[in-house]
C-alpha cells in the first residue's frame, strides 16, 4: 500500500498543456476519484502515475520515493483500462496469471492466487474460457482480477464502467467498492460521471482544462464548492454574479449583477470570498423555497413561473425574476407543492444559510 503525491506536475503535448501545475496527495487505502469534463487531463494524470507518460515538469512520488521516470513495469500498479485490454490469445486463467508469471512465482502459488482472486470476482467457473467468449461485465471483472492479483500498491481505473449498460454499471460499482474495501488498496478512479464519483469516493479531485479546481470529500465538493465551475459541474446550481457591498461579523450583503437585488449571506459561507477577484453566489435548486404569498424577510423576490417539469419524485421549476435572472428550484413531490402552474406569480426565498459565495474563475480554453 502506498500514498501517491504529485508535486508541481505539468504535462504538455506539443502546444497543448494537458495537465498544469498539479499538486495532489492521495493517502494510503483511499478511494480517490479524478472527475472532470472530457479532455481535462484525467487520463493523462493517471497515465503519469502508471508510468506510461513522464511529466514534462514535476515529481511523482509513491510514499516518499521518487517515481517520476521509473518505467511502468517497476511501479507495481494495477491498471484497469477503459477497454479492459485483456490479452485475446489467452484464457481467463492465463490473463490473470500473467502478472504473477512475470514475477516468477512458483506454479502452485500462481494457481492458488488466481483461483482465489477469480472466486472473489465471482468468475470461479470461467477460468478456462477464452476471453472473447465473455460478456462485457465478465471481461471487466477479469480485468479487475488481473490487476488485483499482483497485489499492487495502487489500483488505477480509467473509466472502467463507461462501456457497460446502466444496470451492469450499478452492479459493478458496488463490486469495485466491495473489492477495494476488502483489499484496502489505494485506488485512483477516473470518471466523468458525477454520480459515480460522489457515491464511491473518499475524496474527489475536480479537473478543468488541465487544472485541478478542488480536492475534497464528496460532501464538501457538493456543499462547499471551491468556485463556480465546481458548483456548476457537480449537480445543478443557480450561479449569480455578485459583488460585496457590506459585511459585519455575522452577515454579508451582496448585490447581484447586473440588476442589483440585494442578498444577505451567512458569514460562515463567505470564507472563500476574501480575495479581490469576481464573486458569484451559488444556491442549489433544492435549497430554494417557493412561496405562494408574499412574506416579509431577507432574500425574497417576486417572480413568474416559466417552466415546470415533473420527474416523479421531484418537481423542477424555473422562476423568472427579471430579464437577467431565472432561478431554478427543485421540490419534493408532496401535496403542498403541487399547486402552481406556468404563468403564476410566486415569491422565491433564498435562505441565507443555503447561499454560498464562490470565486468566479475565468473559464478560458488553453487548448
Amino acid at each position: 500500500m502506498s500514498s501517491v503525491s504529485l508535486e508541481a506536475v505539468q504535462k504538455t503535448f506539443g502546444k497543448t498543456t494537458a495537465v498544469n501545475d498539479l499538486n495532489l496527495t492521495i493517502h494510503e487505502g483511499e478511494f480517490f476519484t479524478f472527475l472532470g469534463p472530457s479532455g481535462c487531463g484525467k487520463t493523462t494524470t493517471l497515465r503519469m502515475i502508471a508510468g506510461f507518460y513522464y511529466p514534462t515538469i514535476g515529481t511523482v512520488r509513491f510514499n516518499d520515493k521518487d517515481m517520476t521516470t521509473v518505467p511502468p513495469e517497476k511501479r507495481n500498479t494495477g491498471m484497469v483500462f477503459q477497454n479492459y485490454a485483456l490479452f485475446p490469445h489467452m484464457t481467463v486463467f492465463e490473463n490473470v496469471a500473467f502478472g504473477l508469471k512475470v514475477r516468477r512465482l512458483p506454479r502452485a502459488d500462481i494457481r492458488k492466487r488466481v483461483i482465489s482472486v477469480l472466486s472473489k470476482v465471482r468468475l470461479g467457473h470461467y477460468s478456462d474460457r477464452q476471453v472473447s467468449q465473455l460478456s462485457g461485465g465478465q471481461q471487466q471483472r477479469v480485468a479487475l482480477a488481473r490487476a488485483l492479483v499482483v497485489e499492487p500498491e495502487i489500483l488505477l481505473l480509467d473509466e472502467p464502467l463507461s462501456n457497460l449498460d446502466a444496470r451492469l454499471r450499478d452492479d459493478m460499482r458496488s463490486e469495485i467498492l466491495r473489492l477495494q474495501r476488502e483489499f484496502g488498496i489505494t485506488t485512483i478512479y477516473v470518471t466523468h460521471d458525477q454520480v459515480e464519483a460522489l457515491s464511491m469516493s473518499d475524496r474527489i479531485a475536480v479537473f478543468n482544462f488541465g487544472v485541478c479546481q478542488q480536492v475534497a470529500t464528496p460532501e464538501e465538493i457538493y456543499n462547499k464548492p471551491a468556485n463556480d465551475f465546481v458548483a456548476q459541474f457537480i449537480g445543478e446550481t443557480n450561479v449569480m454574479p455578485a459583488s460585496l457591498i457590506y459585511k459585519d461579523e455575522h452577515h454579508a450583503v451582496f448585490k447581484l449583477e447586473p440588476a442589483g437585488q440585494k442578498i444577505k449571506v451567512k458569514k460562515t459561507n463567505c470564507h472563500i470570498s476574501q480575495d479581490k477577484g469576481h464573486l458569484a453566489l451559488s444556491i442549489r435548486p433544492e435549497g430554494v423555497n417557493i412561496l405562494k404569498q408574499h412574506c416579509e424577510g431577507d432574500n425574497i423576490f417576486k417572480g413568474k413561473v416559466v417552466f415546470i417539469q415533473f420527474t416523479g419524485a421531484l418537481f423542477h421549476t424555473h422562476i423568472k425574476i427579471d430579464k437577467h435572472l431565472i432561478i431554478r428550484a427543485t421540490q419534493l413531490n408532496t401535496e403542498a407543492n403541487i399547486s402552481f402552474n406556468t404563468g403564476d406569480d410566486v415569491w422565491v426565498h433564498l435562505p441565507q444559510e443555503n447561499v454560498r459565495v464562490v470565486p468566479k474563475i475565468e473559464v478560458t480554453a488553453n487548448a
Binding site: 502508471a50 508510468g51 518505467p71 513495469e73 507495481n76 494495477g78 477497454n83 485475446p88 514475477r103 499482483v150
Partner: protein, 561 residues
C-alpha cells in the same frame, strides 16, 4: 535522456537505420552516382547519350516500356473488371467455382507463366500446331512473340490484380447505396456510372498502379518473348552484360524515375477525394440469372474461360511429365512418366538449383521476418522524428523495379565497403540472399503493419503495468498476436523468392544459381521437361502456401499482391 521509452526507441531504430541505409539507400545512391560517371569523370554525358537521337535505342526502349505498361493496364482492367462484375453481381450455377479459378494465374511465377505460354502458343506450341493439323494448313496459323506476346502474357498474369481489388470493392459497397439510387429513379446505366463506378475508383487506382509498376518492371516476359523488341528493363540487363555499367546505371535511374513518378501521381490522384463508405459492407447481393438461355450463355462463357485460364497450368504439369528426349521431332509428346521428378533425387546436379533456391530464400525471408517485424513495430507503435523518412526507405525496394534493385546491389557491392564488412559481395553466395532480403522487406513490413494497426496500444500497456519488461511483453503478448500476419507475409515472400528471376539473372554465380536460372539453362538446352518440372514444383509450393495462409493465417487473397 529523461525518458527511458525514448531510449528504447532509439536502440531499436539504430539497427533498422543501419540496415536500410547500408542495403537500400547506399546501393540506390551508388547507382545514381554511377549514372553521373563516364570514363572516370563526373558528367551528365550518360543522360545526353540516353536522350540523344543518335543512339535512339534507349529512347525507343523507354517508349516501349511505357506503351506496354499502359496497354497492360487497359487490357487487364477490361478483363479483370468484367469478370469481377459477372462473378460478383450475378448468380448462376458454377459461380463460386469460376470465381475461384479466376485467380489461378497468381500461382504461376512469371517465368513459369511465360514458359507455359511458349509451350502453348509459341513457334512449336501445342495450340497453333493442333490447329494446323486439324485444318490441314500449310503453316501454323499464329504464334505469340514480340509485343503481342508480351501483352498477352501481361494480360493473363496481371488481370487478377484488377479482378481481386474490384471484387473486394464490390463486396464492400453497401448495397443500399445502389438501391437508394434506383429508388430515386435512376436507371441501371446511370447507377453504374454515377454510383458504383465512382465507389470503385480507389480499387481501380490501386490496381492500375500495381499493373503499371509490375509491367514497367516486367523482365521475364520480354526476356523470353521480345525477340528484337526493346524494353527498358531488358536494356539494363544488356548494358550490364556488355560491361557498360554507366549506361546500365543511367537506364536504371530513368526506369525508376518513371515508376516512381507514376506512383506519386496515383497517390496524389487518390488523395483528392475521400471515398470512404459511411458504414462497412454488408456483403453485396447478387442478382439471380433466371432466363434459361442467359444461364447457358453464362455457364458456357465461364467454362471456356476456365479452360483458357487453366491451360498453362495443365501444360506445365504435362510437360513436366515428358522425359528428356521423348519429344524431339514429333509434334506432340507421346511418352509420360515421373523421370524428371525422380532425377531431382538421383542427380545432385539437378537437385542443386532447387536446394539453392530453398536455402537462399529461407535465409532471406528469415531476415525479412525479424527485420520486418521490428521495423513495423517501430513504425506503428513508436513515436519519433523522421518516421516518414523511415517509411519511405522501407518502401523503396517495392517502388523500384527488380532489375534496378539488382543493379543497385552490383554497383554498391562490386567493391569493398563498410556495409559488406570490407569484402566484395558480387560473385559470392551472399549477394543473392541479400538481394532477396531487400526485395521482400516491403511485403513483410506491410503485412505486419496491417495486423499491428489492429492491436490496441492498451494491450501492451496492460502487460507493462503488470510488471512485464518491454522485451517480455513483445515476446509473450505482441508477437503471438501479430504472428499470423507476419507469417502470412513471410510465407508469401518465401514463395516469391523461390521464383525470383530478374535479380537472380543479374547476380547469380554458377554455385548459387537458383531454380529460375536453371529453368533458363534447361530451356536453352531444349530440355523442356526438366524446366517444366522445376516450374511445377514452384506452382505446388505457391498453391500450398496460399492455401495455408488463407485457411490458417487469415490472409485474404487480395492482400497477397
Amino acid at each position: 535522456m529523461r525518458n527511458p521509452e525514448k531510449r528504447k526507441t532509439v536502440y531499436l531504430l539504430i539497427p533498422i537505420a543501419v540496415i536500410l541505409i547500408g542495403y537500400v539507400l547506399y546501393p540506390a545512391l551508388s547507382t545514381l552516382f554511377e549514372s553521373f560517371q563516364n570514363k572516370g569523370a563526373v558528367t551528365i554525358a550518360n543522360y545526353t547519350d540516353f536522350f540523344s537521337a543518335k543512339t535512339s535505342s534507349n529512347l525507343i526502349a523507354l517508349w516501349h516500356s511505357v506503351y506496354i505498361s499502359i496497354l497492360s493496364v487497359i487490357i487487364s482492367a477490361i478483363i479483370g473488371m468484367t469478370l469481377a462484375f459477372i462473378f460478383n453481381k450475378y448468380n448462376f450455377p458454377g459461380r463460386k467455382l469460376f470465381s475461384g479459378i479466376a485467380i489461378m494465374p497468381i500461382v504461376l511465377p512469371s517465368l513459369v507463366g511465360v514458359m507455359a505460354f511458349m509451350f502453348l502458343y509459341g513457334e512449336a506450341g501445342l495450340v497453333p500446331n493442333a490447329i494446323k493439323d486439324l485444318f490441314h494448313l500449310k503453316d501454323i496459323p499464329f504464334k505469340i512473340g514480340g509485343i503481342t506476346g508480351i501483352l498477352i502474357v501481361h494480360a493473363y498474369t496481371m488481370y487478377p490484380y484488377f479482378y481481386m481489388t474490384v471484387s473486394s470493392a464490390l463486396n464492400n459497397i453497401d448495397p443500399s447505396l445502389e438501391e437508394a439510387a434506383y429508388n430515386l429513379g435512376a436507371g441501371r446505366w446511370r447507377v453504374f456510372w454515377e454510383v458504383t463506378f465512382p465507389l470503385l475508383t480507389p480499387a481501380l487506382i490501386a490496381a492500375s498502379l500495381l499493373v503499371f509498376m509490375v509491367s514497367m518492371a516486367s523482365f521475364s516476359a520480354p526476356f523470353l518473348l521480345a525477340g528484337g523488341y526493346r524494353v527498358l528493363s531488358l536494356q539494363i540487363y544488356f548494358s550490364k552484360m556488355n560491361g557498360n555499367l554507366d549506361m546500365a546505371a543511367t537506364q536504371s535511374i530513368i526506369l525508376s524515375v518513371v515508376s516512381i513518378a507514376f506512383l506519386l501521381f496515383m497517390r496524389w490522384f487518390q488523395n483528392r477525394k475521400d471515398y470512404r463508405m459511411a458504414n462497412k459492407g454488408i456483403g453485396a447481393h447478387q442478382s439471380e440469372v433466371n432466363h434459361p438461355f442467359m444461364k447457358i450463355v453464362m455457364v458456357t462463357i465461364g467454362a471456356i474461360g476456365m479452360v483458357i485460364l487453366l491451360l498453362p497450368h495443365a501444360t506445365i504439369l504435362m510437360m513436366s511429365l515428358v522425359p528428356q528426349g521423348a519429344w524431339t521431332w514429333q509434334t506432340y509428346p507421346t511418352k509420360f512418366n515421373f523421370e524428371n521428378f525422380v532425377l531431382l533425387f538421383q542427380d545432385p546436379e539437378i537437385l542443386h538449383p532447387l536446394k539453392n533456391s530453398l536455402v537462399i530464400s529461407f535465409i532471406a525471408v528469415l531476415g525479412d521476418f525479424i527485420f520486418g517485424m521490428i521495423t513495423s513495430y517501430v513504425l506503428v507503435k513508436r513515436k519519433f522524428i523522421g518516421k516518414n523518412l523511415l517509411d519511405i526507405l522501407v518502401m523503396i525496394p517495392w517502388a523500384l523495379p527488380a532489375t534496378v534493385v539488382g543493379m543497385n546491389l552490383i554497383l554498391a557491392f562490386n567493391h569493398a565497403s563498410v556495409f559488406s564488412l570490407g569484402k566484395i559481395l558480387v560473385g559470392t553466395f551472399w549477394i543473392l540472399p541479400l538481394a532477396y532480403f531487400i526485395r521482400f522487406i516491403p511485403l513483410v513490413v506491410r503485412s505486419t503493419n496491417a495486423v499491428l494497426e489492429q492491436l490496441d496500444d492498451s494491450i501492451e500497456e496492460a502487460a507493462r503495468s503488470l510488471g512485464a519488461k518491454w522485451f517480455y511483453t513483445f515476446r509473450r503478448i505482441v508477437m503471438p498476436l501479430i504472428l499470423p500476419g507476419v507469417l502470412g507475409g513471410t510465407l508469401l515472400a518465401f514463395v516469391q523468392a523461390v521464383g525470383e528471376f530478374p535479380t537472380s539473372v543479374l547476380l547469380y554465380t554458377l554455385d548459387n544459381r537458383p531454380i529460375s536460372i536453371e529453368i533458363m539453362n534447361q530451356l536453352r538446352m531444349f530440355n523442356t521437361g526438366q524446366a517444366a518440372a522445376y516450374g511445377m514444383i514452384q506452382v505446388v509450393l505457391i498453391a500450398v502456401v496460399l492455401f495455408i495462409s488463407n485457411k490458417y493465417l487469415g490472409v485474404k487473397s487480395e492482400n497477397t499482391l
